[in-house]
């Protein structure tokens, strides 16, 4: 069913308690399609991190729904999450707390691998069960989709400014991609540029960039269908930022994982994302293909956001400053193609 988004947010509203309650997210809807990289950008307080937590079920929205493969995602309560939902993984912002300081990193990556195995077994059981029920009812409908990115629209690699190399081949041969994925913690660590010996070391022995790589490896080891990065590179040095972002995108492409990349910093996101969604004060104000939003922003806020990025060209041009106290329209501009 290629017409079904992998993950979709429907009219999400989130209030934070207070007097009066603060509305962090106000009626946000968007879809994430299989295999795509979407950049969710906006400044502090726009609700983008709240959306990340809603999309993973860590926060229960006041109203609205998160649909994962067409089914409503249950919020993460006291009970453990069923393998059905472990296809959604997240990488957090703070390299200091994204890993458990008291466990060896190899063990933490192994958790991701175990999750992938559990879900594969779960989905095999589900497939077998529904196949049985299908034969019983003598239906000719296709069996449910199994783990993997084979369904869904294959992105045309010519749309982006040079799509990730592996994406089309992966989409063509998803099984092979699954086989190529590292199967041991050591292999995962080597995949992200560390050594097998690093598996027995603790998070404190690694730099911020390395910890974020390890956190990404743990999430990817679970073979997620959706990976949400909540400002995963914001706390890193500039040179490391680009590398970690690229690594996350390449790994996502290799496994056919959809990536929702949340950031306040457009300069790197625009290089990795196929689509951009711009949020402002709890609302989506603009969305569209990255190149279009970047080169031809329609919403005044998007224009201000892009105009404020200082250009590192040595010309000494000061970026455009928004007039003090300015507020922008909360209505989304619709891009007519």
């Amino acid at each position: 069913m290629p017409d079904q988004p992998l993950l979709s947010a429907r009219d999400i509203v989130v209030d934070y308690p207070g007097t009066p309650p603060v509305r962090a997210v106000d009626g946000v809807s968007f879809d994430l399609w299989p295999g795509e990289v979407v950049g969710l950008v906006g400044e502090s307080g726009c609700g983008k991190s709240t959306m990340a937590r809603v999309l993973t079920g860590l926060i229960k929205p006041q109203s609205g729904q998160v649909l994962y493969r067409g089914r409503p995602l249950p919020p993460l309560g006291l009970r453990g999450r069923s393998p059905e939902w472990t296809g959604i993984q997240m990488v957090f912002q703070d390299p200091g707390s994204s890993l458990n300081p008291r466990r060896r990193v190899g063990d933490q990556v192994a958790d991701g691998i175990a999750t992938a195995r559990l879900r594969a077994a779960y989905e095999r059981r589900q497939t077998a069960r529904s196949a049985r029920s299908l034969t019983a009812t003598d239906s000719t409908a296709a069996p449910p989709r199994s783990l993997g990115p084979e369904a869904g629209p294959v992105l045309d690699p010519t749309t982006g400014p040079g799509a990730y190399p592996d994406r089309d081949t992966v989409a063509a041969a998803p099984r092979a991609a699954g086989d190529q994925a590292p199967a041991t913690p050591e292999a995962w660590l080597e995949r992200i540029g560390l050594t097998a010996r690093d598996a027995s070391r603790f998070p404190r022995h690694f730099s911020g960039g390395q910890r974020q790589r390890i956190a990404a490896a743990r999430a990817m080891a679970a073979h997620p269908n959706v990976l949400i990065g909540d400002e995963p590179i914001s706390a890193l040095d500039a040179s490391t930022q680009a590398k970690v972002a690229h690594l996350m995108c390449v790994m996502a492409a290799e496994l056919g994982t959809s990536l929702l990349f949340i950031s306040h910093d457009l300069s790197i996101v625009r290089l990795v994302a196929d689509r951009l969604i711009v949020m402002y004060q709890g609302h989506v104000v603009e969305r569209g293909p990255t190149e279009q939003v970047w080169s031809d922003p329609l919403h005044p806020y998007t224009k201000a956001l892009l105009g404020a990025i200082p250009a590192p060209d040595g010309a000494g041009r000061l970026p455009e400053a928004a007039p003090p106290g300015v507020t922008y329209s909360l209505t989304e501009v619709v891009r007519s193609d």
Partner: protein
């Protein structure tokens, strides 16, 4: 706003500044011979990644290096060597002739005092003026940095301002005693990009109008390119390259500067497409440590790693900014 303008021309000359911090039975060489000169009406940029020592250079200028640090070299403010000053004499310079703006205004301002009392206390401590005069200066300073309704703002608390306004208040405090030198340590890093633009414009106008000498410390080369007149690039306690902004940003000579720019989105020869990203990740070895036994802090072993062919490995140092 002539009353906020400093008198006369000022030159800051840092000569062979070294700073060592003993740890255990070892020594961390935080600064390893810094030479830097800048003067009135000029923004001297100091760029570098975390752990490069750029923040410590700024702190050493106002005598705020860690108490166990060993400092040598000279920091000349005209003909006064700040590195030799202690106690009261240093206090008389700090805040009076050298103002400072830090990264996070929510921690650099006292949360339980009004903006007005923080400003006037500061002015009265240094300038020994009457209450009314201090208040007048405070209003002028707030007005100069673009805080709306400055006389009403005096009675408000820091938390009543937005992040950008708070940083403007911090700049107003730094300006209130008409300092000759302003040390701005990552003044826009904690701000949103649209707010950052306004603060950058403010700092630029202060330099142009009042003739301040500014040491602008930042990790963000984009910001550097927007405001700085001259740029010094620091790495592991040394200035590896120093020159006019346009030279550094467009024709970097040192492999480290080249590597920094290659990893910078939007720079010439930097990251402008996915292909650039892929190339960066291929040509650069991922941040691999020298060996599994290497400690996480900056030790001499790591410091003196060969710089090697460009681009060099940039993600070596772990911990926070020194």
């Amino acid at each position: 706003m002539s009353e906020l303008a400093p008198s006369g021309d000022t030159t800051v000359r840092i000569e062979q500044l070294t700073l060592d911090i003993p740890v255990e039975d070892d020594v961390n060489h935080i600064l390893r011979g810094i030479d830097l000169t800048f003067g009135s009406g000029e923004i001297q940029g100091l760029a570098g990644e975390s752990g490069s020592g750029k923040t410590m250079t700024g702190l050493a200028m106002i005598g705020l290096e860690p108490p166990n640090a060993r400092l040598s070299g000279q920091i000349w403010l005209n003909d006064l060597d700040l590195a030799q000053l202690r106690g009261r004499t240093l206090n008389a310079i700090r805040g009076r002739r050298v103002g400072t703006v830090f990264q996070d205004p929510s921690t650099s301002l006292h949360p339980q005092l009004t903006v007005g009392s923080q400003l006037t206390d500061h002015v009265r401590h240094h300038l020994k003026v009457s209450k009314a005069e201090a208040r007048q200066r405070a209003v002028a300073a707030l007005d100069r940095v673009g805080v709306p309704e400055p006389s009403r703002a005096l009675s408000r608390y820091p938390h009543e301002f937005s992040g950008g306004q708070r940083q403007r208040v911090a700049i107003a405090i730094a300006l209130a005693c008409s300092p000759e030198v302003l040390i701005a340590d990552e003044p826009t890093t904690a701000l949103d990009v649209t707010v950052q633009a306004g603060v950058l414009r403010l700092i630029r106008s202060l330099v142009d109008d009042l003739g301040l000498a500014v040491l602008f410390i930042t990790h963000d080369l984009g910001v550097m390119s927007a405001v700085a007149d001259r740029v010094a690039v620091m790495r592991q306690g040394q200035i590896v390259e120093h020159g006019p902004r346009a030279e550094i940003m467009t024709r970097p000579q040192h492999p480290y500067t080249q590597a920094l720019l290659a990893a910078l989105p939007g720079a010439r020869g930097g990251l402008n497409s996915r292909a650039d990203l892929a190339r960066l990740s291929e040509t650069t070895d991922p941040d691999r440590r020298s060996g599994p036994t290497a400690p996480a802090t900056t030790t001499p072993t790591q410091l003196s790693e060969p710089a090697g062919p460009a681009p060099t490995d940039l993600d070596q140092t772990g911990g926070g900014d020194a």
